[in-house]
């Protein structure tokens, strides 16, 4: 009956080690870990030397044209990137007016740092600057205003990173308010408003972005009076803004659901109007809880701007993809060089945003505890 019970006591075991295992124990602790480590080292030995040789040692750093890059054994053709970078970043924008583009994006960067850095006060002013001031100032600077002495640069000359960043910034500036409006509409007590919001959100989220871009590009001019003809940059921008708003609405909805009911009720009991309660009590908590989600949405939006090439815009990636056909530079290494450069560009922006979201997530989790 009691066979399974131990009759004699085991000797006490030594206490577990206090220190975390060192790198040697981590990498070579047992046979399995050693085998994995060795496999990884072999992989690195196979992959890294050719990659480093291609990207740095055999790379062509400066050359007047593609002849040196076409030589057998040549690595990445960085000279091509250097020669083409005005086109990659500004498209066909007049070089004498690059300062207008630079100024616009410096302004945008300053406002974004102001918005996102936790230590800089007066976020309300930054919000107004980003969502109201920047679009107006940016348009005047980039497009030009003859009344202010700025010559007009047509959107057909815009291209490269300029278009990518404009699309992303405009998408962000519309998607956040649009997403909040759609999310509030979705939980409204008015059935007509609720169903309209749900229909918009689900319709857009069910379709691929390319279909939405096609729709904006082809159908928008059909639905407007013939003499309105929206600009070629504005049409895909509207598509991207609509698409991003629908996805943002779902993020904001999660935030709204996380605000306890009692918060709104307490605000009502204190005599706040519904609008005041929304503005002062509910929305700050709801949006604060989902800032990481919002930033991740911006990452997706930035990557999605590459799709505007389908309607014939020269965004950064499309500019790179077209430039490789230039007969002056065309060669076997040009495509890969361009793509590596594009990958670095997108990685830099997206990683910076993801890192910020990740750090914020940790801070929010710590604040909750």
């Amino acid at each position: 009956m009691t066979d399974f019970l131990r009759a004699d006591f085991l000797p006490p075991q030594p206490p577990p080690p206090m220190r975390a295992p060192g790198w040697r124990a981590k990498l070579f602790g047992d046979a399995r870990a050693t085998a994995i480590t060795l496999a990884l080292l072999v992989l690195a030995a196979l992959v890294l030397p050719p990659a480093i040789r291609y990207l740095f040692i055999d790379a062509i750093w400066s050359a007047p044209d593609g002849a040196a890059c076409r030589a057998p054994g040549a690595g990445a053709c960085w000279a091509y990137i250097a020669a083409k970078s005005p086109f990659f970043f500004y498209g066909a924008y007049p070089p004498a007016l690059y300062w207008r583009v630079n100024l616009t994006f410096a302004l945008a960067a300053a406002l974004i740092v102001w918005l996102l850095h936790p230590k800089i006060p007066r976020k309300g002013l930054a919000l107004a600057g980003f969502f109201l001031g920047l679009p107006v100032v940016g348009f005047i600077l980039l497009h030009g205003a003859p009344a202010l002495g700025l010559s007009v640069v047509g959107t057909n000359l815009w291209g490269g990173a300029l278009v990518s960043l404009i699309m992303a910034l405009a998408g962000m500036a519309v998607a956040l308010p649009g997403g909040v409006a759609l999310a509030l509409g979705r939980r409204s007590e008015l059935p007509a408003l609720r169903w309209l919001s749900i229909a918009t959100i689900e319709f857009v989220r069910g379709a691929p972005l390319i279909a939405v871009l096609f729709m904006a590009n082809v159908l928008l001019p059909l639905f407007l009076p013939p003499d309105w003809a929206p600009d070629r940059l504005l049409r895909p921008m509207a598509g991207i803004a609509l698409f991003a708003s629908a996805y943002m609405a779902e993020v904001v909805r999660g935030g709204l659901a996380a605000v306890p009911r009692g918060q709104g009720e307490a605000a009502a009991a204190l005599g706040l109007s519904r609008w005041q309660s929304l503005k002062l009590i509910v929305l700050p908590q709801a949006l604060g809880a989902v800032v990481p989600g919002i930033v991740n949405n911006f990452v997706a939006l930035f990557k999605d701007t590459t799709l505007v090439a389908i309607v014939g815009l020269f965004d950064f990636l499309h500019a790179i993809d077209v430039a490789r056909l230039d007969p002056v530079w065309a060669g076997p290494t040009i495509a890969l060089t361009g793509y590596v450069f594009a990958a670095l560009f997108y990685l830099t922006f997206c990683l910076a945003m993801s890192r910020y979201a990740g750090g914020l997530e940790k801070r929010l989790a710590a604040a909750k505890r």
Binding site: W23, K26, L27, R32, A33, I36, T37, L40, E189, L190, P191, A192, L193, L196, F203, R205, G206, A207, P208, L209, I210, A211, F214, M215, V218, L219, P221, L222, F223, L224, P225, P226, V299, K303, D304, T306, L307, A309, I310, L317, D321, P332, A335, L336, Y339, A342, A343, Y346, L347, C350, L351, S354
Partner: protein, 315 residues
């Protein structure tokens, strides 16, 4: 009460007025540009070929059949890429969870890199850099019965036999086997490795959502680490991971529309061609939207049934 009704009536009136204005403008614009307004164009001869099709298709077939071939291509590519992305994603997810520092860091590096590069760049990379410099059919690379050359990837397939290059029978191409065009291969590879990064993170979140006590309890009961993983951790982790996994499959299906950029004949590319040839914008975009929306709704309904009927969804 009356205020609420008045507000909603006003809202509906505005929406109706917008729709009416759009319809009025559309009617005027369509007439001015001589764009067809019926679906009759669907039965006209397409006049273009497809580089890959599940059903037999020739340029003499109708637009409707081209659309059908496009939908089937979308479905096949999405299904294949979903399966492969799940396999790769789970492998990377487990590597990420590994106790081995190097393996876990490598998996994290993969996830961070692949998630933060636009899918379009993945596709261009596979298509232009990896698949274009492939050899002619007579110098096909072969591995375990699979042949690879600039006409595509050839698999052995039941009923189609083993792929082989035989100059006596056909001096220009491989015969037999199942052919995947370079465009399809690039699309499947790109979708697989991009989506795998997301699936790896979903798996990791699922496993980490299982309380620590579960594995400690399993250990206390005498289960081996492998048994603990298979019988205790994974069933609970998969329950958490299923909904985001399904929305990843849906995203993959929608992302397969990027085929239009590399010239694979999926629904989007075929309907884009039809739109250019016929100008029937409203109809083709309407068909696209209906098909993609229908596909999402079908998948979501299916998932809800699985959740309801199987013990996966049990509380």
């Amino acid at each position: 009460m009356t205020r609420r009704i008045a507000l909603q009536a006003l809202l509906l009136a505005i929406v109706a007025a917008l729709f009416a204005a759009a319809a009025f403008n559309a009617a005027k614009n369509l007439e001015a540009r001589h764009i067809p307004t019926s679906f009759a164009f669907l039965w006209q001869t397409a006049g273009f070929g497809l580089n890959q099709s599940v059903i037999p298709f020739s340029p003499l077939d109708s637009y409707a059949r081209a659309l059908l071939a496009g939908v089937l291509n979308t479905l096949v590519v999405s299904a294949l890429a979903s399966v492969l992305a799940t396999v790769v994603g789970f492998a990377i997810g487990f590597a990420r969870l590994s106790a081995h520092w190097g393996l876990s860091r490598l998996a994290a590096l993969y996830v961070e890199t692949f998630r933060n590069i636009p899918l379009l760049l993945h596709l261009l990379f596979w298509y232009i850099v990896l698949l274009t410099p492939l050899p002619q059919p007579e110098q096909s690379l072969s591995f375990a019965g699979v042949l690879l050359n600039n006409r595509g990837l050839y698999f052995p397939f039941p009923g189609l036999g083993w792929p082989a290059f035989d100059p006596a029978r056909n001096a220009f191409n491989v015969e037999g086997g199942l052919r995947l065009s370079p465009e399809a291969a690039a699309l499947i590879f790109g979708l697989t490795f991009y989506t795998a990064a997301y699936i790896a993170e979903i798996l990791r979140a699922g496993v980490q959502a299982v309380p620590r006590g579960q594995s400690e309890a399993a250990q206390a009961l005498g289960l081996s680490p492998a048994q603990t993983r298979r019988l205790v951790i994974m069933p609970q982790a998969l329950r958490v991971a299923l909904p985001p996994l399904v929305s990843q499959y849906l995203a993959l299906t929608k992302n397969s529309s990027l085929a239009a950029f590399i010239g694979f004949a999926d629904l989007m590319q075929v309907s884009g061609t039809i739109l250019n040839q016929t100008g029937a914008a409203l109809q083709t975009i309407g068909i696209d939207m209906a098909l993609y929306l229908g596909l999402s709704m079908l998948t979501l309904a299916l998932m809800r049934r699985i959740e309801k009927n199987s013990d996966w969804g049990a509380k």
